[in-house]
């Protein structure tokens, strides 16, 4: 097995991107990644496209993007892991390099959710999960899944609505400083408390938006890294797990079991102690599709004990300067959540943080040279946790 590093990153503006088509949007990110690495298309031996895609016009996006970006005739595929699609695409590219099959691979995540009218998009997201019982039967929409987690968590640990509001206020604070973010605007707790309900107890300001966007990373094996860059960011480890499709088969709604399993896998490979995991990292990206998801992520990643995640936010410990800065690019909440691009966007954010290349007002202090990202599909239907480091893994 070979060590694998990220040697180039690309990220488009997130938001309403009806100004371009899917392949043009993907190319914006790919082009940036190639320029950063001073590589061209002929250097790439394999590429993977992360795209959920049900709402967009292209049914075979990998080849459409391949043709437009001049990546033919390299092998490719489109991958799907719901909202963790980006991490799944990264995983496929990562394993292709790690195994020695290729030296340089590209992972690009792209989504154009505004290709369909909003009610259709809401309907299509609602189908994620167990289609028959939960969707066909009574039309459960996606926020309801997280709403049930929120009510379970809030009642078990006696948590107030302001505790969820803290997450939204923080992520908008950093979104306001990220020029790629969909919502570059701060919000107050009053704005939060006055925002309209989506699925009780969750409000519109608990929810990530419908977003278009793309992100790309170029991966290279240890042998060729030196020729490309003197500041690679290594993929230290990745953990992945899944949960049941049917929520009626779950046993606990106060955390995301698959995410905890994925974190423990990644930590084990990296030699990280779960209980003190926050000490190893300078920064983390977590999957805050809804505010409650960020609170649960703190606990599933070992940053806080069970039932104490909300206190990290209450004490501002996840701002820059706190114990562990989280989602300081705005997170899904403010940066936006273009399903297939989100995991790769997280990889781009962490890579740029470790290289001191983040936007003004969003850069953390890098002490350990290590960060992680946590990407969840559905409500733990899929989970990926990936650790990045400026230090080359020893194996």
């Amino acid at each position: 097995m070979k060590n694998v590093a990220i040697v180039g990153t690309g990220h488009t503006k997130f938001g309403v991107r009806t100004d371009v088509n899917l392949q043009e949007l993907a190319w914006e990110a790919i082009k940036q990644a190639l320029e950063e690495a001073s590589l061209d298309q002929s250097d790439i031996q394999y590429f993977v496209v992360g795209n959920f895609g049900n709402w967009s016009s292209e049914e075979i996006p990998a080849v459409v993007i391949g043709e437009y970006s001049n990546l033919n005739p390299n092998g490719t595929m489109r991958v799907e892991a719901a909202c963790a699609t980006g991490s799944a695409a990264l995983r496929d590219a990562y394993l292709s390099v790690k195994s020695g099959e290729v030296d340089i691979a590209l992972a690009v995540g792209v989504e154009q959710m505004h290709q369909s009218p909003n009610p259709n998009t809401i309907e299509l997201i609602g189908r994620a999960g167990d289609y028959f019982w939960e969707f066909q039967n009574f039309g459960l929409t996606f926020p309801s899944y997280y709403a049930l987690h929120a009510s379970a968590y809030m009642s078990k640990y006696n948590v107030k609505e302001e505790d969820l509001g803290n997450i939204a206020v923080k992520n908008h604070y950093y979104g306001a400083r990220n020029p790629y973010a969909q919502f570059q605007k701060e919000i107050t707790m009053e704005d939060y408390l006055n925002s309209r309900p989506v699925a009780y107890p969750l409000r519109i300001l608990d929810s990530s938006p419908i977003t278009d966007g793309a992100a790309a990373v170029l991966l290279a094996s240890e042998e060729v890294v030196k020729r490309i860059t003197d500041s690679p960011i290594w993929i230290t480890s990745q953990g992945t797990a899944s949960g049941t499709a049917n929520l009626s088969r779950r046993s606990d709604f106060t955390h995301i079991e698959a995410a905890e399993l994925a974190a423990k896998q990644a930590y084990k490979k990296a030699g990280i102690n779960f209980e003190t995991s926050w000490k190893y990292f300078d920064v983390a990206e977590v999957h805050d599709c809804f505010t409650i998801a960020e609170v649960m992520a703190y606990e599933d990643l070992g940053f806080a004990k069970r039932g104490e995640g909300y206190q990290l936010a209450r004490e501002n410990q996840t701002y820059i300067g706190g114990k562990i800065p989280v989602n300081v690019d705005g997170g899904l909440k403010a940066k936006g959540h273009p399903i297939g691009a989100t995991g790769i966007s997280m990889a781009v954010s962490i890579t740029r943080q470790l290289l001191y290349r983040s936007h003004k007002g969003t850069q953390v202090d890098v002490k350990n040279g290590m960060g992680l990202f946590h990407n969840v599909g559905g409500t733990g239907h899929y989970a990926y946790v990936t650790i990045l480091s400026s230090r080359r893994p020893s194996s």
Binding site: P119, N137, F138, L140, S144, L148, A199, S248, F253
Partner: protein, 135 residues
Amino acid sequence: MNVFPPQVWREKETLYRLIGGKCNCGNVIFPYSPVCNKCGSTSVSKIKLSGKGILLQYTVTYQHRPGFEKTQPTYVGLIKLQEGPEIIAPLTDVDEGELKEGDKVEAVIRRIKSDSNNGLIVYGTKFRLIKDGDK
């Protein structure tokens, strides 16, 4: 909104009769599955669930979904059935502020939606509160 009759027909035991599975290990599964989600055994027989349960959590969803306009907002519960499984299911005949954790609920058959083109109606299971005075 299109209703596809074969789909409704093949799921009739789940939708209308709350047929679940019971494994030799004692685990009860809903909807029915031929493989136990606890022990992996395939010794699972079909049982009819009572439809009685306790409301553990609930949410009220305000999102617009085509075909469900008449039932906005939608009340959805996490229900612990008497036989053991915790399932997610729609609630009916409730008013805002009426629900609380620990309420007793029971399954009833209700209209879910109708096809706007051919008028076919889909029925299914919802849960309602068992109020004091009911037996």
